[in-house]
């Protein structure tokens, strides 16, 4: 008798859970893409965990707090890993409406992902779109900050170059006129070195400095 009941239950379950059945969702996992070497094998224990997570999500929905793990039915598990699942009501005769399941999964998507170390792209619920994270918009776009820095540096550099150019030109303009003045002054002043006036060379007559005697005069003639 028990065997018959068991077969009946599984038969009904099998009817409820079929690819493209009403209220059924396909799930696709890409464990090796996500985890590489640390990938775990998908076995019945993992399936049990999945059923538990779905049941957990359904229990959060008002009016569905009595959802049990046995109410979640998986079928058509492939090597990919992909499978179909439905959530049945306590009587196990009908499947819960797709919208309820969808909203429940969407609310708890993060918890489900984390249970399997996956993310929205590697644990896909086909037909259930995930709510995408809002883009992180800083109050000031970063490019404006960098632009401000670069532009300020360039403007400062240009200003410095222009100012130094103006200063150079002013010095050059003053330079030739200053040289003319000093030439005029040279004619009239007497240069003073160490307090002793230096006579210009052309004022002196020729004086012979005795210490510098020529070779011929030192040697007495033969």
């Amino acid at each position: 008798m028990l065997w018959l009941l068991f077969f009946l239950v599984t038969a009904i379950h099998a009817e409820l859970c079929q690819p493209d059945a009403e209220n059924a969702f396909k799930v696709r996992l890409s464990i090796r893409t996500a985890l590489g070497d640390k990938a775990y094998v998908w076995d019945t224990n993992e399936e049990y965990l999945f059923k538990a997570m779905v049941a957990f999500s359904m229990r959060k929905v008002p009016n569905r707090e009595k959802t049990e793990i046995s109410h979640v039915v998986l079928c058509n598990v492939t090597q990919r890993v992909s499978f179909w699942f439905v959530v049945t009501d306590p009587s196990k005769n009908h499947t819960l409406p797709a919208d309820e399941v969808q909203s429940a999964i969407r609310m708890n998507r993060n918890r489900i992902n984390n249970a399997f170390f996956l993310n929205d792209q590697t644990l896909e619920f086909l037909k259930i779109p995930s709510t995408l994270a809002p883009p992180t918009d800083p109050s000031v776009p970063i490019w404006i900050i960098v632009f401000g820095v670069v532009f300020c540096i360039v403007i400062v550099a240009i200003t410095l170059l222009v100012l130094s150019g103006i200063r150079q030109r002013r010095r050059k303009n003053k330079g030739p006129s200053e040289m003319d003045d000093t030439e005029d002054k040279c004619e009239n002043t007497v240069t003073i070195e160490n307090g002793i006036p230096c006579d210009p060379l052309d004022m002196k007559g020729g004086h012979i400095n005795d210490t510098f005697m020529t070779e011929e005069e030192r040697l007495t003639p033969l």
Binding site: R80, S82, L132, I142, V150, V154, I158, L161, V162
Partner: protein
């Protein structure tokens, strides 16, 4: 401008003015490309990079429609950078972000050319060596990426079929011509600052060889990255695996072909329903867009896949920026030196004012490229402003030196400068080969331009085959602008020549009038 007092080379001023106009047109759109590079550079200082994700649509369930249809990088380029309209007639509004970046670019250019060769000479130490450093880094990084070898094999295997197409040879000739920046006047401007007894033969050889070596170096780096990008594109395999529920990673790239044929024979309808594209590395590498598409779409996507993306993005775009900047120096010299020589402004006006005025004029004229249709206008300028004119100028320069000035006198000058006469190779090339080649290229280019209908590819989200670009033809007035751009610089030469001829004739008339008056006076006094 050739600084020779010889009367026959007073005509050199004409080429100078022609080069001035060509350099002006080139500077306008060249700095726009630099603006785009600067925009990308400013946006590279964040993780994740902005061109890696699509913006969300209004109810946050999916991405913006346009972004979903194409890729994130294309969306960032066409929508968030250019904000491009669907046709060149629809100008749209000025994009203030691009305008700001354009102002910054022109400020940087002004900073570097402010004192002429004084400042340019110092700036170029950095802008010329930095790209080599970054290129080496990219080469090392590129060669260590998976799939790089395939890219390199593709680069170095000659495709005999392609080589038989004369169009390819024409493209190669024009490419080397523009790569060496001949006839723009930049070379002559820079060379005029050298000492008179400079070994120009060695310089010429060095420039040419270094240019080609750098191109080869850069292409190795680029193709290794392209090979990597092609290797990471395995969307087809994923589709197959998902459809037939094969285990993950069960189909490698090598098995793909066999598995596909097997599936096609057993379950053809399901395979057909997947709409798989043919997956050949060759096809991908053949379809890589050229020019702006290569840098802003293909390379940015490749950078996204490299670990540490912001660093690579910053390096890449700063390299592009410094490369473009050093080219801009040549262009600006081509504008400023003729203006200085002709003496547009009086002597007492400092050089900074002249360079500032030139940069300001270029900036104001270039604002038309910051419109939403700016990229289409840039294509117009790129294909029409420079090409024909430069080839023509180069042809007349070679002919002018070899025939009008006299090859013997030229060889004498070079002997005076370098100490040895140019060999047979140089003489034959100057006299025969170069003019012939230039004439052939000019004629072929002209024929090609007149034959191909003037059309462009527009980015139109409303197009049925979006994301393919829509082929549209230029409206009449744009076509007129194209013709004007092509002819205007070349018209300087006969125009000024005519003016000088008329001036000479008037002077001769005045002289003869004066002579006859003197004769009359003499004869009158008796």
């Amino acid at each position: 401008l050739v600084r020779s007092p010889d009367k026959r080379l007073g005509w050199g001023v004409l080429w100078g003015l022609g080069c001035l106009s060509v350099s002006f047109l080139i500077s306008l759109y060249y700095n726009m490309v630099l603006t785009w590079v600067l925009w990308y550079l400013l946006n590279s200082f964040q993780q994740p990079l902005p061109w890696g994700t699509c913006p969300l649509d209004l109810n946050r369930t999916g991405f913006v429609e346009e972004c979903r249809a194409t890729s994130t990088v294309s969306y960032f380029w066409y929508r968030q950078t250019l904000n491009v309209t669907a046709a060149i007639e629809h100008s749209g509004s000025v994009q203030w972000r691009l305008l700001a970046c354009l102002a910054a670019c022109w400020a940087v250019v002004y900073l570097c050319v402010i004192r002429g060769i004084e400042s340019t000479g110092k700036a170029i130490y950095f802008t010329a060596s930095f790209p080599y450093l970054v290129l080496t880094i990219f080469l090392i990084r590129g060669l260590t990426l998976p799939g790089a070898v395939e890219g390199l094999i593709y680069l170095f295997t000659p495709n005999v079929h392609t080589l038989q197409n004369p169009r390819v040879w024409l493209d190669a000739a024009t490419q080397i011509f523009f790569s060496l920046s001949l006839a723009i006047g930049g070379h002559i401007a820079f060379a005029s600052y050298n000492l008179p007894r400079n070994d120009c033969e060695k310089d010429a050889l060095t420039v040419a060889l270094l240019n080609s070596a750098t191109s080869l170096y850069a292409s190795i780096a680029v193709f290794s990255v392209l090979g990597f990008k092609a290797a990471t594109d395995h969307g087809n395999i994923l589709n197959l695996i998902n459809e037939f529920d094969f285990p993950e990673h069960s189909i490698s790239r090598d098995d793909y072909a066999t598995v596909l044929t097997h599936l096609n024979s057993t379950q053809p309808e399901r395979v057909a329903g997947l709409h798989l594209e043919a997956c050949h590395l060759q096809d991908f590498l053949d379809k890589v867009p050229r020019g702006t598409g290569l840098a802003f779409i293909v390379f940015t996507e490749a950078i996204l896949h490299m670990p540490g993306s912001p660093v690579w993005a910053v390096l890449f775009f700063s390299m592009l920026f410094t490369l473009g900047l050093s080219s801009m120096f040549g262009n600006m010299e081509g504008i400023i030196t003729p203006l200085l020589d002709v003496g547009v402004l009086p002597r007492w006006v400092p050089k900074e004012v002249l360079t500032g005025a030139a940069c300001l004029a270029c900036f104001l004229s270039a604002t038309c490229f910051t419109l939403q249709s700016g990229s289409y206008w840039l294509e117009v300028f790129d294909s029409h402003a420079a090409s024909l004119n430069l080839i023509l100028f180069a042809f007349f320069e070679v002919v002018g030196v070899a025939y009008v000035y006299g090859l013997d006198r030229f060889c004498d000058d070079i002997e005076w400068m370098t100490g040895r006469r140019p060999g047979l190779y140089w003489r034959v090339t100057w006299k025969v080969i170069s003019p012939l080649l230039l004439l052939t290229i000019f004629v072929a280019y002209f024929a090609l331009l007149t034959q191909t209908p003037l059309s462009y590819r527009a980015w139109n989200p409303q197009y049925e085959q979006f994301p393919l670009k829509q082929e549209k033809s230029y409206p009449g007035w744009v076509w007129a602008v194209c013709v004007l751009l092509s002819l205007l610089p070349a018209l300087w030469v006969p125009g000024v020549a005519l003016a000088q001829l008329l001036a000479q004739r008037r002077r001769k008339q005045e002289d003869t009038q004066r002579d006859t008056r003197l004769e009359l006076q003499d004869s009158g006094v008796c």
